[in-house]
Amino acid sequence: MKSLLLPVILLLGDCLAMAASEKQEIPATLEAARELGRQKSRFLHETKAATKADDGIPLANVADFQKLVEPVIKRSCVGCHGPKKAEGKLRLDHLNADLLKGPDVERWREVYNALTKAEMPPEDSLEERLSDSDRATLVLWLGEEIHKASLLRRASKEQSAFRRLTKDETNYALQDILGVDSAFANKLPPETASEDGFKNRSDLLQMSATQFQSYRDIGFEALRRATVHGPRPQPVTYSISMKEQMAMGLSAKAAKPFISGDPASKKHTNQQHLIDTETGMGVQVSEGKALPRDNFAFGQTPPVSPVVWVLPASGEVKLNLDRFLPDDGVMRVRVRAGRSNMNPNEYASLRLVFSAHTSNNASFSQTISPRDIPVTAASDSPEFIHFDIPLSDIQRNPFRKLTTTFPRRDEFLHIKNISNASGGQDRLNVLIDYVEISAPFYEQWPPKSHTDIFFKSIHQEDEQVYGREVLGRFLRRVWRRPAEKQEVEAFMALYSRYRPGFASFEETMVEVLATTLASPEFLYLTPRQAPESARKGPPRIDEPALASRLSFFLWASPPDEELLKLAEAGKLREPGILSAQVKRMLDDPRSKRFVRLFVDQWLGLDRINSVSHLTDADLRAAMLEEPVALFEEILRRDRSIMDFIDCDYAMLNERLAAHYRIPNVYGPHFRKVTIERAANRGGLLPCAAMLTINSDGTDSHPVKRGVWLLQRVLHDPPPPPPPNVPQVDLTDPEILKMTLKERIENHRNQAACASCHSRIDPWGVAFENYDALGAYRTQIKNRPVDATSELFNRQKLAGIDGLKAYLLTERQDQIAQAMVHKLTAYALGRPLSLGDRPDLEQLSARLRQGNDRLSGLIQLIVSSEIFSSKD
C-alpha cells in the first residue's frame, strides 16, 4: 500500500495561505494572474508525507476529533449547522466522526471543501469567525481522515468498469470492423447522461429485449452492406455535359437566352446560368435533366468544355434524375468545378442536396453530403470533386416505383454553391462543366469490406476449414481478443446448422457473423483480469482488455491490428510502447471522435439542440464546433489546460467571427485567430455555445451560467434546490421593475435562498456582458451592464476578465483537479468514488508538474494504475 500513498495533507501553511489569500488583490493582467496562480499551487510544492504509510488497516482517529476538532466545531459551526438552524440541511453536531466506518464521509468532504475554499464560515458572522489555527486544526484532521477513508474504499471495489458499449461506440465499432461508413446504431435508444454529462457510465447503460433485438438487426444490416454476392451489379450511370444541358435549356419554351457583354445580359449573369465561354451565348436556367446512359464507363475525363453552368453564391445545379437510382449501394457523384477568381478572402464549396416534389405541398429535401467540399481549382483548369452517398441512408421518393405518373416519381440532385462571395464586378462564381453520377459504385470488386471478411486463403474450397479461418479472424476483431478453439467451434456448429438454408458459403457465414455482433463480448467491455503474477497491488486487466480500454477511450472503437498484436505479445504495457501508442492514436483521425464525444458531453453541448432562440443553422454549427476546436488546439499543440480559462487566441470560422465582431476571418473552416483583450473572448467561458445554452430563451441566465461553471469547469456542482424555496413572484409590480440581476439579488436576499444562491449567482453575474446568444454587450435595456458581483467569500468579480483573473489566481488547482476528474471518468466509463481519490490526486499533481499540458494528462491517465485496474 505504501506505493499508492500520495500525501494529501499538503503543507498546512499552503492551505491557510490559500484561504487567507482569497481576498488578495488580483494581479493587473491575466498573464500575471496565471503566473501567480501557478506559484500558489499546492501540487507544485514539495509535500511532506504527513500520513504514515502504514501497511496495516487504517484506523479512525476519533480521539483527536473529541480533543481538538469537536470544540472548534461547537464554537464556530454549530450555531448555524446545529439544532437551532441546520443551514443547508447540515448538522455538524450529528455527523459521525468515524469517517472510515461511518456513513458521513461525503458530508465531511463537503465540509472540508468549504473550509479549504474559505467559503465557511461566512465572512459576515462575526461571532463564528474561525481563527487560522482553528481552521488548520479542522483541515488537518479532516484531510487525514478523508485520505484514510479513501484508501479503505479503494480496496473494496466500489465501482465496476464492466459496461455495455454506448450507441456512438457501437456505431464506430461497426464502421471500423466492417469498413462501411454508415450510422448503423442510430436506431438504438438514446443513452442517459451521468451528472458529469457522460454517456458511457457503466451503471447507467441498460439493456432490454427491444434493444437486444436492435443489436441483432443492426449487426445483420451492417454485414449485409459490407459483403456482396453474385456478379458485380450493373450500375446506373449518368453522364451530364453542360453542352447538352445548354441545348436543352435553349430549346425550352420559355428559354431566356442572352449574349454575354450585352447590357441586357447583366440581370441574367447575376443569377445561375449556362454559358458558352467561347461564343458568349448564354441561357438562364433553373434545372437540368438527365437520364442514365447504357453501357457507360464511369470515371471519364472529357476535355474541358467551354460550356459551363455558372453558380453564384447559393446557386445550384438542380438535376432531375427521374426515378432510376437504385435502392441501395453507394452513389458516387463526380463534379468538375473551378472558381471564377482566386480571391483568398472568398470561398466557395459544394454541397449535395436531395429532393423530391411528389405533389402540391408534399415535397422534401435534405442535405446528403456529410460536409461541404471546397472548390479550389481555377476555372481554366477545373478539377473533379467527388461525394459518396449511401443511398439507403437518405430520404428517397417513396413513389419512385409507381407505374402511374402521379404522384410524381422523380428525384432531384442539387449541387449547391455554399459561398461567402458578394456581388460586384468580379464576383466569385463556381463554374461546372461536367457531372457524373453512378450507383451502386464500387472502388473494386469485390469491395474491400468483403475481402476483409472473406479473404483469400488456400483453404477457400474447404468450407469447414475456411469457415474456421473466417470466424477466427472475425471473432478476434469483434471480441478484441483471440477466440479460443472451442469458441470458434461453437460458431462453426451454428454455421453447419444454417448451411442447408442458404445457397452459398458467404450468405450462411454472414448470418453466423451477425450473431457474433450481438454477443456479450462484443457489446460489453470486459475487464478481463491479467493472470496472477508476482506483482503486488490491486488486480489489473490483461493486455487485450487494456488495448480495448485505450482504443474506446481515444477512438470510441475497438483496437486496431497494431494494438491487438502488441497486446497479444504482452508488450503494450511497456512504458515506451504505451506512450508511443497513445501518441499514434492521438495522431490518427479517429481521435477526433474522442475529442468530439468528450467535449460534447463534458460541456453538455447537446442542449443547444433544444434551445429555441437560436435559429441560424450555420451559427449553431459554428457554436458547437468552437469548443471542440479549442480542445483540439490545446490537445494537439501540447498547450496548458489553463488555456480553457484564458488564452490570447480564439478558434473561429467566418460565421462565428462575425457573431463576435472579429474582422478578417474568411471561410467555413475553423482556425486559430490571435485576438486582442478587447475582443472579450479567449478560453471556454465566453464561448457562444456555453452562453447560449445557459440562457432562458430571451436573455442571459446568470443562475444557469453559474451552475454550469461550477458543474462543468470547477467540478463543484451546487446541491439541487431544497424544498420550500419561494419562486420569484413576477406578478409583484415592484419585482417587475427590476433588472434580472436585481431580481436575482432580491431572491438571494431571502433567507431560504441565500445559502445556495450566494454560491451560484455571483459566478453567473460575471457573464452579464454576454446576451442570450453570447454576443458582447455593454447595455441592457438602455442601462449599462453591471457584471460585477461578490463571491460568497467576499471576493469581488468584475465581469469576465475579473472572473478569469480570479480563477487563474486562486483556482488553478481546482481547475486541474476538475479536468482530471472529467477526463478520468470518461476514460474509465464508470462512476468515480472516494476510493479513486488517491489516484486522482496523484494525477492532478503530475498534471500540474507537467505544466498542465492536456496531451500530457492523457498520457498520465493511460499509464496510471487506475487505468489498468480491473475495477
Partner: protein, 465 residues
C-alpha cells in the same frame, strides 16, 4: 413457394408501392385474421408530465383556467381547459381525489416513473420499479396480437431512474424503451414484422442458444456485481426467445395494410400538431388492424430540456415545462391551461376517431371496446396528489361515462395544494384524504378480463366507476 420468398415479395411489394396504395383493411385482411375470442378489448394510457393548472379560488384565473370541472357527478361543468371535450361529454369520465399512496411525497419530477406502476420509487438511493398497468394487461392479452404492446413517447428510450421517458415497465420493473419516431413505429407495425420467415426464426433460436452459452462462459470471468449487469443481457436474450416463440405463430398471418393518409412519418416533436396527430393515428391504426391491444404514450418527460419542451409551440408557447413554473407571471395560468387544453383536444380527436369507427367485428364502435385514459401524476406544481385524469370509452367493458367522479374527502373543491408555484407543496403535510389510483387500475384490469384484485400492493376496486 417457401416462406422466405413469400415474405420477401410481400415486403418488396410494400416498398414498391410506397405508402400511396393503401388498401381498406376490412376488405383485404379481416377474413385472414386468426380467430380470437370475441371482440378485442383495448387499453391506452396517455401521460403528460408537469401536471395542470390549479389556481386558488381567490385568483381571477380560477374561473376559467382551473383544470378540474365544477359541479356534481352528472351536471358537471368543464372549464376552458377541458371545454374542447364538451362534444364528447357522454363518452368521458373525469376523476379527482386519486393518487398513488407510495408517491404522495415524491417530487413531481419523478412522477412519470410511477404513474402506471404505483411503485415507491422514492426520491433517492436504490431504485426499483414494478410492472406497469399496461404490461399486466399485455401479459394477459399480448399473445393474441402480433405485438403485445405499443410503447411510445416523444423522447424515446427509457430515460433515467426517476426520470422515465417511458410509461411501461416489465415484470422485473425494468423500463421498456419507448419508440418516438413515427417512421420506425410504422415500420415495426406494418412493414417489417421481424418475424419474416420460419427459417429465420429457427435460426434465431439456435443463435440465441449460442449467445446464452457465451454469456455463461463470460460470467465466470466476472465479479458478482458485473454478473448482475450481465444478467440484464441474459434477461434480454430470454425475453427475445419468448418473443420468438410468439412470433412463430404469426408467420403465416399477413401484415395488415392500413390507410396511411393521415400519417406524416417524418414529423418531429417540434412540429407538435402533426407529430401528435401522427402518433395518435399510429395507435388508432394499430388498434384498428388488431396489431396490438395495448398502448402507452408519454408526452415529454418530467422536468427537463429536450424535444418535449417544444411541444407547446403548437399553441404558440415556448418551454412546456417552464409553463408550470411561470403561472405567477402575467397570463401564466392561462398559458398552462392553454397547453393542457391542447393536449385534451388531441386526445379528444383520437377518442372521436374511435367513436366514428365501427368495430371490425361488428360489435358497436371501437371506442366502446377501448378504455383510453389521459392524465398526469401531478396536479399542482410538482405535487404528486390529486392526479388529473380523464378516461374515455369502455362502454362494452362496463364503464359508464358522462360523469365527474370525485373520490376522497376534504378536497371537494380541489383547493388542496392549489395556487402553489413552489416546491413547498410537494413535500407538505397531507391534509386531505385521497383514494389509491391502484383501485381504479384493479377495476380496469378486471373489466379487461384479468382476474386480479390487487395492483401495486393495493387491494380492491374503486366503487362507482
Amino acid at each position: 413457394m417457401n416462406p422466405k420468398t413469400l415474405s420477401l415479395s410481400r415486403r418488396s411489394f410494400l416498398r414498391g408501392t410506397g405508402l400511396a396504395l393503401a388498401l381498406p383493411w376490412l376488405e383485404t385482411f379481416a377474413a385472414s385474421t386468426p380467430s380470437k375470442a370475441g371482440t378485442p378489448k383495448r387499453f391506452l394510457s396517455v401521460y403528460h408530465p408537469d401536471g395542470v393548472g390549479l389556481p386558488l379560488k381567490s385568483d381571477p384565473a380560477w374561473e376559467e383556467w382551473s383544470w378540474f370541472p365544477r359541479g356534481g357527478e352528472k351536471d358537471f361543468e368543464l372549464t376552458k381547459v377541458l371545454d374542447v371535450l364538451e362534444p364528447l361529454r357522454s363518452d368521458i369520465t373525469v376523476y379527482s381525489g386519486l393518487s398513488h399512496p407510495a408517491a404522495r411525497r415524491v417530487h413531481g419530477h419523478s412522477n412519470a416513473d410511477q404513474y402506471l406502476t404505483g411503485a415507491a420509487v422514492g426520491g433517492q438511493g436504490p431504485y426499483q420499479n414494478t410492472i406497469s398497468l399496461d404490461q399486466v394487461y399485455a401479459e394477459h392479452v399480448g399473445d393474441l396480437t402480433r405485438h403485445a404492446s405499443l410503447v411510445m413517447s416523444t423522447n424515446g428510450g427509457v430515460g433515467a431512474p426517476r426520470g422515465a421517458q417511458t410509461q411501461s415497465f416489465n415484470r422485473e420493473g425494468r423500463p421498456i424503451p419507448a419508440m418516438n419516431r413515427p417512421r420506425q413505429i410504422f415500420e415495426m407495425l406494418f412493414v417489417t414484422s421481424g418475424t419474416e420467415a420460419a427459417e429465420r426464426l429457427a435460426r434465431s433460436k439456435s443463435a440465441l442458444d449460442l449467445l446464452i452459452d457465451n454469456t455463461r462462459s463470460l460470467k465466470r470471468q466476472l465479479s458478482s456485481r458485473d454478473q448482475e449487469t450481465l444478467q440484464h443481457y441474459l434477461d434480454a436474450v430470454r425475453d427475445t426467445e419468448v418473443k420468438l416463440a410468439k412470433a412463430q405463430r404469426w408467420i403465416d398471418t399477413p401484415i395488415p395494410q392500413v390507410d396511411t393518409r393521415n400519417l406524416n412519418l417524418d414529423a418531429e416533436p417540434k412540429e407538435a400538431r402533426i407529430y401528435f396527430q401522427t402518433m395518435y393515428e399510429l395507435i388508432y391504426l394499430a388498434f384498428l388492424s388488431d396489431t396490438t391491444r395495448v398502448a402507452t404514450f408519454q408526452l415529454g418527460r418530467e422536468n427537463g430540456e429536450g424535444p418535449h419542451d417544444l411541444l407547446s409551440l403548437a399553441v404558440g408557447l415556448s418551454g412546456a415545462h417552464g409553463l408550470t413554473h411561470a403561472v405567477k407571471k402575467p397570463g401564466g395560468w392561462q398559458n398552462l391551461g392553454t397547453y393542457n387544453r391542447y393536449q385534451a383536444e388531441e386526445f379528444g380527436r383520437f377518442v372521436q376517431r374511435l367513436k366514428d369507427t365501427p368495430e371490425p367485428s361488428g360489435v358497436s364502435n371501437m371506442l366502446d371496446n377501448t378504455f383510453a385514459m389521459h392524465g398526469s401524476a401531478s396536479s399542482s406544481f410538482h405535487l404528486s396528489r390529486n392526479y388529473p385524469i380523464i378516461s374515455a370509452g369502455g362502454k362494452n367493458l362496463g364503464f359508464t361515462n358522462g360523469r365527474y367522479l370525485k373520490f376522497g374527502k376534504g378536497n371537494e373543491d380541489n383547493q388542496a395544494g392549489a395556487g402553489i408555484d413552489t416546491d413547498a407543496g410537494w413535500n407538505g403535510k397531507i391534509e386531505v384524504e385521497e383514494l389509491p389510483l391502484s383501485n381504479l387500475f384493479v377495476t380496469i384490469l378486471q373489466r379487461l378480463g384479468v382476474e386480479t384484485d390487487t395492483f401495486g400492493g393495493q387491494t380492491g376496486t374503486l366503487s362507482r366507476v
